[in-house]
Amino acid sequence: MNPIGNQSQVVGNGITRRDVLKGIGAGAALLAAPGFVRYSQAQTSEPIRIGFQCHRTGIGAPYGRWYDRTTAAAVKLINEAGGINGRPIEIVIEDDGTDAARGSEVVEKFVRQHKVDLVYGTLFSHVVVGSAPTAGELKVPYYVVSEGYHVASGKMNRYCVQPGITDVKAQVRSVAPWIANNLGKKVTLVYPDYAFGHDHRDYFAPAIEAQGGQVVAMVPIPPTETSFTRYLPQIPRDTDVIYHVMVGPAVLTFVKELGEFFGNSGPKLFGFIDSLEAVDLKSPGLEFLEGSHFWEGMPRYAQADMPDYEKFYREAIGLDDNGASVNDARDISTAAHMFGCWETLHIIKRSMEACNYQGPQDRQALIEATEAMTEMEAGQEHPQGKKVFDGRIHQVFGEQNISQVKEGRLEVVHRTSIEDGRYEPEGDYTKMSF
């Protein structure tokens, strides 16, 4: 005997057509009744859900921790001031393991399971490249805080935007004139051999050549490498400047081995702080960095002439004067990047208010509202400084800092202008369909 078939027969016998009709009628009446509208407040106070694709684990974990803290501080601030269109923000966090394949799954999970309004917060470029097609397919806005050139290249899709942090191409163009004029013209590039490093490789050489300089050698290093001395002989002896940008847990080894190899007699150093984000500059072995220069998106150490809005920002996140957590002086922040989370969230708020965002049906309007942005003034919403947004390539441009290590602290010695970094757009997202 088939118990399931048996059961359905019982149901079939027990419920008549009339009963069903009655039931439907009663249900409809109940729904139409004035007191029973389940989402009566849907338009006003249902939270806006933002899926935060976070590098909780994997090589991006220190960044993930600070992106998380910055996000929490910004959301608290926005919610205390009344949220977006009167609705609070709710952050839904998923760990992508700093892994491209997992990143794409996470985007899908956000849309299908968590029903978020948009996805936000990715840093590592390979995760962005891995996740962007999924965001495009699912037609969900994808606000990255990555600094990679992928979004600005015009090769992603219309749903990907990077409105909170300047991309690598603009960064290297900003710093190249300063390097050529102050450190030297013959430059050797040391960079990680994947997307993020390739941005540096591809855009620094033309930028330094435009200044009369020259890249004398390129030293790509596999991203999984943990030992670096073996690569250092590839640096030619007549190099004036070593331009280094490394990421991942082995960065400290890299900088230490550079010091052991060259001692005090080596070429000058210009690094991207990515090499030492979340790493204490007073760590043993880093003494030889004294006097060398770094790019910083935003200063890690409190500067003497810091404006009030920057103080406010640092206080909201809980940064001490050394750029570490106020709760643990050894917990060093990723200050040069994480401001992008703060600024991106404020841009999401402004865009949603501009298009009167109600729900997922307004996702296209949201992207269009962001595309329509142009100038952003420095202030509490943009503590890193003023910015210009180019809606055609979905990319923002800002001022960059060049800092020197003095007594184990980074001191800003030069601030580039927005124009230093601007370049001709290679694509136009606004002409793409949704």
């Binding site: 684990t57 994997g58 090589i59 974990a61 220190p62 993930g64 921790r65 596999p222 999984t224 490498e225 943990t226 030992s227 001395t229 073996r230 690569y231 250092l232 002989p233 002896r237 847990p249 082995a250 960065v251 400290l252 080894t253 230490k256 081995e257 052991e260 190899f261 060259f262 001692g263 979340a278 790493v279 760590s283 043993p284 072995g285």
Partner: protein, 296 residues
């Protein structure tokens, strides 16, 4: 830089890799040789050694040599204790059955790794080297500590050889390795030998990690590479053979150093993998495996 100094640097780098690899792989080889257990969690014992080294070193302020000394003594002991407990709680209950222990040690791998992530965090943290000398050669500078690692590893390997070949403990271990049942018949407490060997193997991985941690930082994912390389070394050298492990570690370490400096690191890894394949096809017992064990 001319060919000579370039080659010297490549050799030095290769020797450091080989020194640490020999210790790590020897631990893995001992565990497999005596217990017939493929310890997939071996790399995590290595990682645990490094993480504990950071912790012990950070307890002591003042001269960095004191912190390092404390780490060198205590970190392998603690890791050995963890391995001992793991053997009693898990492996013993599986009767050291081949498939079961592989799955169990995979579980152990994740447990240790995630505990390290939870309690230690995701950062790479440095341990200060006991001394900070830099040897300036005419062509390049080199860390004196790296040379120390090479010599320390040689000393430890000689010590292990002495333990295995010249002491009663070694005799008992070898007896258990060659024939477990016969050893038991001669009143050797095989269970205790197993637990001891598992602890010793983990302790050696931890010791290797303490040596390397002033060069590379402690990080919760650092156990993956040494595990893979140790397997390569153990397969090439022959399971359970001390001499084979050392020779294979030298081979892999030096070729990694030299090939990756003159050509590319990827090529070095490819050649190592190819070597493993060739050994498995033409000499599956490994280059130096003692015949008696391989025949079984």
């Amino acid at each position: 830089m001319g060919f000579g100094p370039y080659f010297l640097l490549a050799t030095l780098e290769g020797l450091v890799t080989a020194a640490v690899l020999a210790l790590t792989a020897l631990g893995l080889s001992l565990v497999f040789g005596v217990m017939r257990v493929v310890n997939v969690a071996h790399g995590e014992f290595y990682m645990l050694g490094a993480v504990l080294a950071w912790w012990f070193a950070s307890l002591v302020s003042g001269n960095p040599a004191l912190g390092f000394l404390l780490a060198v003594v205590l970190s392998p002991l603690v890791v050995a204790a963890v391995a001992f407990i793991a053997d009693r709680l898990v492996l013993k209950r599986l009767n050291y059955e081949a498939e079961g222990t592989i799955v169990a040690t995979i579980g152990l791998l994740y447990i240790i790794q995630q505990l390290a992530l939870t309690f230690y965090g995701a950062e790479a943290r440095p341990v200060q080297a006991p001394f900070d000398w830099r040897i300036q050669l005419p062509w390049f500078g080199y860390s004196a500590y790296k040379l120390f690692v090479i010599f320390a590893s040689i000393a430890i390997l000689i010590g292990t050889w002495f333990l295995l070949r010249r002491t009663n403990i070694g005799l008992i271990m070898r007896a258990t390795q060659i024939d477990r049942d016969m050893a038991q018949a001669f009143a050797i407490p095989v269970g205790k030998v197993y637990a001891g060997v598992f602890a010793l193997g983990a302790g050696m991985a931890a010791l290797a990690a303490v040596l390397i941690v002033p060069i590379k930082q402690a990080h919760y994912l650092m156990g993956q590479d040494p595990l893979l390389l140790s397997f390569i070394v153990v397969i090439i050298g022959g399971l359970g053979s001390l001499r084979g492990t050392v020779v294979a570690a030298l081979l892999i370490g030096l070729s990694d150093g030299i090939i990756s400096m003159f050509f590319s690191p990827t090529l070095a890894k490819m050649l190592a993998t190819l070597l493993v394949a060739l050994v498995l096809v033409f000499r599956p017992q490994g280059l130096f495996s003692p015949g008696g064990v391989a025949a079984r």
